[in-house]
Symmetry: C2
Subunit: 340 residues, 2 copies
DNA sequence: AAAGGCTTGACGTGCGTACCTCAGTAATTG
DNA sequence: CAATTACTGAGGTACGCACGTCAAGCCTTT
């Protein structure tokens, strides 16, 4: 049951290994007829090139670059940390993973950064959905650099793959949890987002409102308030929300800055009575979840996302198929009981 | 920035490659002093052996075997399917993954099966926690075959690793969902399990009862009823449960056979009024979840588990560290909105 | 019939490590 | 001091593939 090698194929096809090699690597100078013979032998013997030997022989390194925001909320810091650890681990597999921080919220700056990345085999980028960014991504792809979008997608670009969750589904999930956790109550739900210019925030909001409107008529969703992902600002927004809304039953924070909401709720003594659903599991949100101030955390696993991004980039570089089930990023729901 | 190779290390240490090789592979015939010199050079140059070249040179195949139940509920069938697909995919990486079906619910039979597996480098087994099985696992490990338990653990054996969820946490999670989904109601909760002899079922039950008792005093948990994981029997049990319990507000099915509960609930017209929490996402449970008869599904991803088992076995065979974050199996919570 | 272009075979080198043999040097023992 | 024994160096082969060179064979064209 030992491995089938190129020489086995050559013998079976009645040609030399050189010819088999030419066929396998698409080099010119082989008659169609001979190509067919070789291919028949390949499938008859179930030949499959040995990945290890192939990569060793090719001797090429995979040069990848991850582009992350320089503004540093916990999630993005975790993502950067994962990038470093994946990079260290993959070093013994001929993979180099560089890390670049930039202002991803400014289309022009992000696009300019991307334009310098043509030397890489692949780029993973937390992308703003902006015309200039889209163009920069397309230019990279055209120049032969594979691009995957990370966490936030640019759907109508030519990026090879999106590694992240479906944000409308995340919003819907938050809505169902909200609706059921607030069962029997009538009142308003406050929605807080970082900025309505961020695609993932808008999509979550959309999914959330859709389900609440359709399934939970006793609940009304208030207009979004922007917290810019900064917890101090989010705290002020939440305080105002609490004062303005006597019949507030729940809060859904679409973006970062959970700390602001937690502090406002606990200061007002409303931590237990108001259902609070948040995104991203961090050390802080974790404690608030255990304490009961946060009722559920929706999460995307930065480790999974970073590893997936690199696996996808490698598969693209090797022209190998992507294992869908492995690369689908799930929307994790964390309650206090199933924390990792 | 090219790779550091053994000859670089040899040059730096002032010895020959043969000596470096002896040190690296723990072969005898090198003075302690020389070993130190080599090791200093290794860390000074940050040498790390090239995995590809190592595996190519060793030329060894990894022979693994997955032992799964021959009784075929959807989850186990999915697991077997994943094993086949992982096996096919890994064939080009010198990994052979055989698949064996056996009666894992009979300790003696399972132990006998395990005893035939000494030729493998690693075994992944869905294990019954039984003295004979434990002994068989220990014997395998002693003979140099790595063992990981899959889905169901044998904690006090010498198995190298457990690939699966923490079942008490799963039970607690189900309880929190139940408590919150049934908020405001007072009544009883029915508990259905496959068999109280299965470790994972008992643990889920334990976690569930713990949280309900502590956090949701308005709810009482009825004694477990056994459905043997067969849906016809589960249906009958559920019908009896419905008739016996006028104030039933929820059902938690710890094991398989969701179809029995779904049919009983829908036949009785209680699908909407009773909170039903189930385990394992299958084509059937998925439809029932979308329809609303099932309110939440707790799931362990068979694909993730199978891939993880193989990765862990490979890491063990190579004496490489295991990436904890990657191998932790999460308890997925699925609502109708975040279905994959 | 000679020139030129396709096709193919034969062979070599390299990727980085594992593992083996053999000779030679140094240190230890009786 | 000679005889062991313990180290070390030099060199080779193998793993399976990628890639390059060179020459030989064949067919077409003029």
């Amino acid at each position: 049951m030992s491995r089938v090698t190129v020489s086995d194929v050559a013998a079976a096809a009645g040609v030399s290994v050189a010819t088999v090699d030419r066929v396998l690597n698409g080099r010119p100078g082989v008659r169609t007829q001979t190509i067919d013979k070789v291919q028949e032998a390949i499938s008859a013997l179930h030949y499959w090139p040995d990945r290890l030997a192939t990569r060793l022989a090719r001797g090429r390194e995979y040069r990848f670059c991850a582009v992350l925001p320089d503004g540093s909320n916990s999630f993005m810091r975790a993502l950067a940390e994962e990038a470093r650890s994946v990079g260290a681990r993959m070093a013994s597999e001929r993979v180099v993973l560089d890390l670049k921080h930039t202002d991803v919220f400014d289309g022009a700056i992000l696009a300019a950064t991307l334009e310098t990345l043509g030397g890489y085999d692949g780029v993973a980028v937390v992308a703003l959905d902006h015309p200039q960014v889209r163009e920069a991504i397309n230019a990279l792809v055209r120049s032969g650099t594979h691009v995957v979008t990370l966490v936030s997608d640019v759907p109508d670009s030519r990026r090879d793959h999106y590694v992240g969750v479906t944000n409308t589904a995340a919003g819907r999930t938050a809505a169902t949890l909200m609706g059921r956790f607030a069962a029997g109550q009538t009142g308003k739900i406050g929605l807080i987002a970082g900025s309505v210019a961020l695609r993932d925030h808008v999509e979550r909001q959309f999914g959330f409102e859709q389900v609440i409107a359709a399934e939970y008529p006793a609940l009304g969703v208030l207009p979004v308030r922007e917290g810019r992902d900064q917890w101090e600002r989010v705290r002020d927004v939440t305080q105002a929300l609490l004062e303005d809304t006597p019949d507030l039953v729940g809060i859904y924070n679409v973006g970062a800055g959970n700390r602001g909401i937690v502090e406002a709720l606990e200061a007002a003594g409303r931590a237990d009575s108001i259902v609070f659903i948040a995104h991203e599991l961090t050390a802080y949100s974790r404690r608030a979840l255990v304490r009961g101030t946060i009722d559920a955390v929706l999460n995307q696993d930065p480790g999974h996302e970073m590893r997936s991004a690199v696996r996808v980039l490698m598969a693209l570089a090797d022209k190998e198929p992507i294992v869908e089930g492995q690369e689908r990023i799930r929307i994790d729901i964390f309650l206090r009981d199933n924390l990792p």
